[in-house]
């Protein structure tokens, strides 16, 4: 499964990196967050458990709040806002 990134509406984006292992999910997330404007939201979809901790810590250290997170089966879905 290839990485998929798209804009769903102005200021809202979806990044799907299911199937990817470390370090790809965290690297793709970082690259996308760098592109977004303050207040934009990213819905991040991934299924590599190890990336969950790293992405949470990365968002905290870069001041990008995670507005919500949930699991659907083995898939993680994070809603991240650009700080």
């Amino acid at each position: 499964m290839a990485m998929n990134f798209k804009q769903t509406e102005p200021g809202h984006y979806v990044l799907d990196v299911k199937g990817y292992v470390c370090p790809h999910p965290q690297l793709y997330t970082k690259k996308v967050m760098e592109k977004l404007h303050s207040g934009d939201r990213l819905e991040l979809v991934f299924d590599n458990p190890s990336s969950a901790e790293s992405i949470s810590a990365m968002c905290a250290s870069e001041g990008n709040p995670i507005l919500g997170q949930r699991k659907e089966g083995t898939v993680f879905i994070f809603e991240i806002q650009k700080g």
């Binding site: 979806v14 793709y28 458990p49 810590a57």
Partner: protein
């Protein structure tokens, strides 16, 4: 993709993703509970059944259950050595560096206790620049592969197909690399070839044929073996030598210094910014101490895993040495021969039996065993023929440890509903094979991987452990630089049609 995004998002709880307070019976599905029961029952049956055949099998079961504990700890804490410096350089996340340092310090304390009782199974390795070079190759490989040698084992327990490919690549590369001769002999410096011939190895080893043989006997074995205790003129097996020399000077101080550097470069800025926005003041020394502690405790899962790993690693040395004393043996080769297995025993009667947590050699052995069964004579090299042997994986103690590590990780993944078979994509399969091959070469040059050459050696005050670690950090930096370029290139294509100002 859009269909997935439904339902209500939950508030995040710090870094503990998606955790909740429900009981296991409520959160673990019946299917997962059945699998957990099956895995634990399988390993229990092996232990009990083989013990019923002969008490010597308890030696192998000791390896098995420590492997199981390691697997549970690694999966629980997402404890991957590869991510330590990779995530630090790539995304500025220090959690794994912290976890590894906690585990190393605790392992060092338990190791020093064991060493001071005279029951340590640890032997320091020769030290020279080769450890740094090997670390660089290994470090690049672990970033490319998406996990180190031990990380790939636990991720295989999560059902990750990429990790299985990494393990396969490490195994095949090592097994092939240690037996490279012929044209590769031309790459051996004359001084190594001459020195190797003076080591009085048996004719069955044929030391003048094989690059790795001559690297080992002609170069590595000539290097000094140094521990921090010995540098201070102390003995490793004394209380002061082990606790002060190897643990305090060799581990606690360097680990503390490393964490302080990590805090000031990667964590301080965010902590100071948060403090200023919260309380409207600048940070003082007391604030920095609190900030440092916040960094240490930021990921409780990783810290807890590090704590248990550190204690278990020391305990394993104690238990294995105790069993050796009980059975009056110095190596599992003797045990295997006593219970009737003599296939694949080395020329000096030994098999690989580290007495502590180790990952890569048993991976080389199962491929070596298979290759020999297919007609490849690989018992004429030092690695297999003189030191480690190639016993059947079914009775190889270190293989029992690795298989159980995968099982322990699977149990923990099933408990957390994180087990899922994931078929590797072509892109990730290529990275897995390249990264695994680099790790295989790096680990043979260093005589170990991130566990055997870094974690275990560093914790036991072996100077070569930090040397390998230094190389591994450099390799991780190079690997991250490459992946940054690779990711940006791929993202540029994906983002080409997106206007971010809309």
């Amino acid at each position: 993709m859009d269909a997935i995004v439904s339902g209500t998002l939950t508030e995040p709880k710090a870094a503990d993703c998606c955790s909740d307070s429900k009981s296991l019976a409520e959160t673990v599905s019946r299917k997962n509970r059945m699998w957990i029961f099956g895995i634990v029952a399988f390993f229990t049956l092996i232990s009990v059944g083989t013990y019923a055949m002969h008490e010597y099998y308890i030696y192998l079961s000791a390896y098995l259950w420590f492997g199981f504990i390691y697997g549970m700890c690694l999966q629980y804490g997402r404890f991957c050595f590869a991510s330590a410096f990779r995530d630090l350089f790539a995304v500025g996340v220090p959690r794994m560096v912290v976890g590894i340092m906690i585990a190393t310090v605790l392992f060092s304390f338990t190791s020093s206790f064991v060493a001071s009782t005279g029951w340590s199974t640890f032997h320091a390795a020769p030290w020279s620049i080769h450890a740094v070079i090997a670390g660089i190759i290994f470090g690049v490989g672990m970033v490319f592969a998406g996990g180190c040698a031990s990380g790939s084992l636990y991720k295989a327990g999560e059902g990750n197909g990429v990790s299985l490919l990494v393990i396969l690549s490490i195994s095949v590369t090592q097994s092939t690399f240690v037996d490279l001769g012929g044209w590769f002999n031309k790459l051996v410096p004359q001084s190594w070839a001459e020195s190797a011939l003076t080591k009085s190895l048996p004719s069955s080893i044929n030391v003048s044929d094989g690059w790795v043989d001559q690297y080992l006997a002609g170069y590595v074995w000539d290097q000094p073996v140094i521990t921090f205790a010995r540098l201070l003129g102390l003995k490793d097996e004394t209380l002061i030598g082990s606790f002060f020399g190897n643990t305090f000077i060799g581990v606690v101080l360097p680990a503390l210094a490393l964490l302080v550097v990590v805090y000031f470069i990667w964590s301080r800025k965010r902590y100071v910014l948060d403090l200023k926005s919260r309380e409207g003041r600048s940070a003082g020394i007391a604030d920095h101490l609190r900030g440092f502690w916040t960094m240490i405790t930021a990921s409780k899962r990783t810290a807890i895993a590090g704590l248990f790993l550190g204690i278990a690693c020391g305990l394993q040395m104690f238990v294995i040495e105790g069993l050796r004393m009980k059975f009056g043996v110095k190596n599992a080769g003797t045990i295997l021969q006593r219970i009737g297995f003599d296939y694949g025993i080395s020329a000096k009667g030994t098999v690989f039996d580290p007495g502590y947590w180790y990952v890569t050699t048993q991976e080389a052995q199962w491929v070596g065993w298979l290759a020999q069964k297919l007609g490849w004579n690989n018992m004429d090299n030092i690695y297999f023929g003189w030191v480690n042997g190639i016993p059947s994986p079914a009775i190889n103690p270190a293989d029992w440890m690795s298989v159980a590590l995968i099982g322990g990780a699977a149990v923990m993944a099933l408990l957390n509903n994180e087990f899922k078979w994931k078929k590797p994509t072509k892109e990730l399969a290529i990275w897995a094979l390249i990264g695994g091959a680099l790790m295989g070469i790096g680990s043979r040059l260093a005589l170990g991987c991130n566990v055997g050459a870094f974690f275990v050696r560093t914790a036991n005050g072996d100077v070569s452990g930090w040397s390998f670690g230094l190389g591994m950090i450099g390799g991780a930096y190079i690997g991250v630089k490459f992946f940054n370029w690779y990711t940006e290139r791929k993202m540029a294509k994906e983002m080409a049609n997106i206007n971010f100002d809309l």
